[in-house]
Structure formats: structure tokens, C-alpha cells
């Protein structure tokens, strides 16, 4: 199965790093095939930043998004700019600190809020990754952990792993809330 | 002192003489003085490379019985940088001209100096593009006639030695072909300096430049270089003349030594 993931945000939020960690987790530790591409140049400075990851069980020929299965956004500008070519039933993840939740339902993960509570706002990307993995199962949490361990500098490792676990927790909670919401609206 | 026959036998590639250069061209004098400097220093010629660009000056590398690289127009310093950086054990001499070095290759000159790579650059400044028949060059003096300044030249010329000094070359000297003994001494010093040495030689182009600019006899040309230059030590008394001599001699860290230090630091 081919899954197309787009992660967006503003420069400095660690969007590219999140994409790299995700792709690496899938390809190196989950034994799947994965490609990652990212935006460059003026596009990636200050303003909106974007990375696209394809994860599949088979060879990936076309490394670009045709219709995204998962769309993640950490800033309003990036959300508006890149919320296109997204499947109707795609899993949408937003950070409520910056973006108003979608009317038709989405996963609202307070990654930035939790990151600030943990003492470092730059952890928001990892928290979001944890939630995404927890909810979509696109990669295993275990592989994400390995991906972080083999990438992040030792000094910040514990903080990042904690952030990931926090993200998983938020994911579980969001899943429960969404299930409740879905049941209520039925 | 070593004779010309001995120099010839030791350093000149067989079958290449007489040179393609015109009668009265000073380039041969620069070739001779360079070889004498090398001989006096007892350099191992097999560990030297003579790099040149394009132009009359740049033909000199082909006459020397040694490794030589006759490169593209304006780029000898770039090629030389590659050789020296890849094998710092080699001693590199660059022969270049005013058009080659200051026109098309000006950027390589200032960056070679900035980098302070250990090469000896000998610029044969003949005030024009001689090989192509005498067009104006970046060093053509004001009010000179050339084939592309038929109504005389008004562009301000470069003073190459001043340029090299300002860019920070550790060793800068300027002589003319009428000062061959001093030139040998300066080339010797330049070869010994660890870093970028810049030696400018004012050398006549009788065929293309001087024929169009007042002086038509070889004796007059030779004397012009004596009479219109002044040693740096007496420059203040004759400010209108071209200043010659050893113009700069400073210490500066050299590129290949710094690279070696870096390699030792990071490969531990």
C-alpha cells in the first residue's frame, strides 16, 4: 500500500527534520520503501516549509504527492498554501495554537502547547510525529524511536524521546475524542 | 656564473629553439632569468611544474624541459591552485601575461592571493594583447595607440603590482627586462617564499605595442625601460616614473600548510 504524507509549517519548526525522521523510520527500521522530498530556496526561508514523504510496501516510482493520505500542518500560512491535492478521507493533523480546526473533523494536536510545557517549543514537530504515528500507524512507534536515536544529538535525545511519547499520548486522546465525536454525530 | 649553453642543455626542451617569439620580445629574457634563479637555488626540476595561460607569455612553459601545463586563457592560477593543493610537494611557477592575468583571469589572481597558495606567479606585462596583434589590455598606458584604441586609449590601466599588494600578496616585486640581474634575485626570493609570490616584469612588445607608440628601434625600447622606471628606494624623488624593486615582503599563513593542519586536526 502506498501512503502519501505532506508535512507543512513555517521555517524553524523542524518540518524537514520531522519528514526525515518519518521516512528513515519507515525505510530503515520498518523495512518499507520510502522517499522524502522537501522545498528549497526562498520557499524554505522564513515562510512556509513543506516536505513530502511516500511510504509503500512496493518500489516507489513517483516520489511526489498525487493525492495526500495524511496532511500535517503546524502553521496557518503553510496550511492555507499547501492544503491541496489532499484526499477527501485523508487524515488531517493541525496544531490548534496556530490553526483553527476543520469543520468536517480533523486531528487537533496541541503539539506547540505541550512542547512549551515541556520547556522547549522546538519539540512540537516530534510531538506531532508521535501523534501521527499513533493514529495512522503509518510507521511504528518503535521505528520512530530508533530513527530519533540514530539521528538526534545525544544531548537532546531524552527530551526528544519524551516528546515522542507525549505525542503518542496526545494521539490516543485525540483518537478517543474523535471516536466520541463520530458516535455523537451518527 | 652558469653559461647560456649550460642553461640550455639543462633546462630547455629539445627542438623548441629558436622560440616563436618576435625579435626584441622580452619574454625570452624572463625565461632565461627564471631558469637561472631555479639553477642557483639548486631546485629539483622534476618536482616543479610550469603552468601558463594563453598568450605570448604563456608559451614559455613549453620551452622548459619539465612538467608543464599550458592551460586555457586566463585560468593558469586556477589550474596551478589545483596542482599545488593536490600535491604540495611540487613547486609551481605560473607564467602569465597582462591580458591573461589581469583581464580574463583577474578574479583568479585576486583569489589566489587571498587564499595565499604557495605558487610563484610571473606576469609578463607588455601593455597589450600581443598574440592577437596588439589590442588594448588592462595595463595599456593612457593615451597609447593599439589596434582597438586607434584614437588613443582613455581607460585607466591597472597597476598590477599595486593590485597584488593591496590584495595582500606576501611577496611582490616589479622589474623590467632591462634589469635581468635584479630580476633573477627577485625570482629566487619569490620561489623561496612560502605563499603567493607575485613578480611583474615589464617586457617589450616591439611588434605590436612599441611600433604604434613612438619607439621603433630596439635600443630605444631597451632604454625606455631603464629611463622610465625608478627603484622603490628612490621613488619619492621621481614620482612620475614607474616604481620598480621589491615592493612587498610580509609573512602570512599559507593555504596548503593550513589545509595540512586541518587534516591533522580532523583525522584524529
Amino acid at each position: 500500500m502506498r501512503r502519501e504524507i505532506r508535512i507543512t509549517g513555517s521555517g524553524g519548526q523542524g518540518i524537514i527534520t520531522a519528514g526525515y525522521l518519518l521516512g528513515k523510520a519507515a525505510s530503515i527500521y520498518d523495512g518499507k520503501i520510502s522517499t522524502q522530498i522537501q522545498s528549497y530556496g526562498p520557499e524554505a526561508r522564513g515562510g512556509a516549509s513543506k516536505t513530502e514523504i511516500i511510504i509503500s510496501d512496493e518500489d516507489i516510482y513517483y516520489p511526489y504527492i498525487q493525492m495526500a493520505d495524511i496532511f500535517i500542518s503546524l502553521s496557518q500560512e503553510a496550511y492555507e498554501r499547501y492544503r491541496r491535492d489532499v484526499k477527501k478521507d485523508a487524515a488531517i493533523f493541525i496544531d490548534p495554537t496556530f490553526i483553527r480546526p476543520e469543520k468536517n473533523g480533523c486531528y487537533s494536536i496541541p503539539a506547540t502547547e505541550e512542547a512549551i510545557k515541556m520547556g522547549s517549543q522546538i519539540m512540537a514537530n516530534i510531538i506531532m510525529l508521535g501523534a501521527v504515528a499513533q493514529i495512522t500507524g503509518v510507521v511504528s512507534i518503535e521505528s520512530l524511536q530508533k530513527s530519533i536515536r540514530s539521528t538526534i544529538n545525544e544531548r537532546f535525545l531524552e527530551m526528544n524521546i519524551n516528546a515522542l511519547l507525549k505525542g503518542c499520548e496526545l494521539g490516543k486522546r485525540a483518537l478517543e475524542e474523535n471516536t466520541i465525536k463520530a458516535t455523537a454525530s451518527d | 656564473m652558469i653559461s647560456n649553453d649550460e642553461i640550455y642543455e639543462k633546462y630547455i626542451r629539445k627542438g623548441t629553439m629558436p622560440t616563436i617569439l618576435c625579435a626584441g620580445c622580452g619574454n625570452g629574457i624572463v625565461l632565461n632569468t627564471t631558469l637561472r634563479a631555479i639553477d642557483e637555488l639548486k631546485k629539483d626540476i622534476d618536482k616543479m611544474v610550469f603552468v601558463s595561460g594563453i598568450g605570448c607569455s604563456s608559451r614559455l612553459s613549453s620551452y622548459i624541459k619539465a612538467d608543464g601545463l599550458h592551460t586555457t586563457h586566463g585560468r593558469p592560477i586556477a589550474f596551478a591552485t589545483g596542482i599545488k593543493a593536490a600535491n604540495p610537494d611540487l613547486d609551481i611557477v605560473v607564467f602569465t601575461g597582462d591580458g591573461d592575468c589581469a583581464g580574463i583571469g583577474g578574479n583568479h589572481l585576486i583569489h589566489g592571493i587571498r587564499r595565499n597558495i604557495d605558487i610563484t606567479v610571473i606576469v609578463l606585462n607588455n601593455y597589450n594583447y600581443g598574440m592577437t596583434g596588439g589590442q588594448a589590455s588592462p595595463t595599456t598606458p593612457l593615451e597609447s595607440l593599439t589596434t582597438t584604441t586607434p584614437y588613443d586609449s582613455f581607460e585607466h590601466p591597472f597597476d598590477l603590482s599595486m593590485l597584488a599588494m593591496a590584495a595582500g600578496a606576501p611577496f611582490v616585486a616589479r622589474w623590467t627586462i632591462s634589469h635581468p640581474v635584479q630580476l633573477v634575485k627577485s625570482i629566487k626570493k619569490g620561489l623561496q617564499v612560502k605563499g603567493f609570490s607575485f613578480i611583474e616584469v615589464l617586457t617589450p612588445c616591439p611588434t605590436s605595442y612599441w611600433r604604434r607608440n613612438r619607439i621603433r628601434d630596439y635600443e630605444g625600447i631597451y632604454r625606455w625601460y631603464k629611463e622610465n622606471t625608478v627603484n622603490v628606494k628612490r621613488a619619492e624623488s621621481e614620482p612620475d616614473k614607474i616604481c620598480i624593486g621589491e615592493l612587498q615582503n610580509i609573512q602570512k599563513k599559507e593555504w596548503t600548510e593550513q589545509w595540512k593542519e586541518l587534516v591533522e586536526r580532523v583525522s584524529k
Binding site: - | P18, R36, P180, Y218
Partner: protein
Amino acid sequence: MITIKENYCKGCGYCIIACPTKALKRSNKINSRGIEIPIVEEEKCNKCHICELSCPDFAINVEEE
């Protein structure tokens, strides 16, 4: 001993001007390329080798006895 390689000489005469003892002078001697080559007055030579350094064509040779 001063010798001049006639076939190398291009007749610029720089050796004549450079010689401090005026041991070289112009002549009517013409080489195969139609060039006037200088002549030497050996006894005036002080073996300073300036003429050798001033020759662009390795055409002149000074040997000390």
C-alpha cells in the same frame, strides 16, 4: 670565450646595449635569416654575463676560461 649562435640570434641587439664594457657591437654580418648579428671584441669582455641574461634567445654564450 664568447660565442654567438648565429641561427638563434634575432638581431635585437639587447646584448650590445646591456654590455657595460661595450665588448659587443653591431656588424654587417648577416645570418641565414637575413638578420644582422653582433660581433665580439673578446679582450673588452669582463665576463659579467649580463649579455647572456639580456639575450631573449639563448643565442649568446660566455665561458670563463
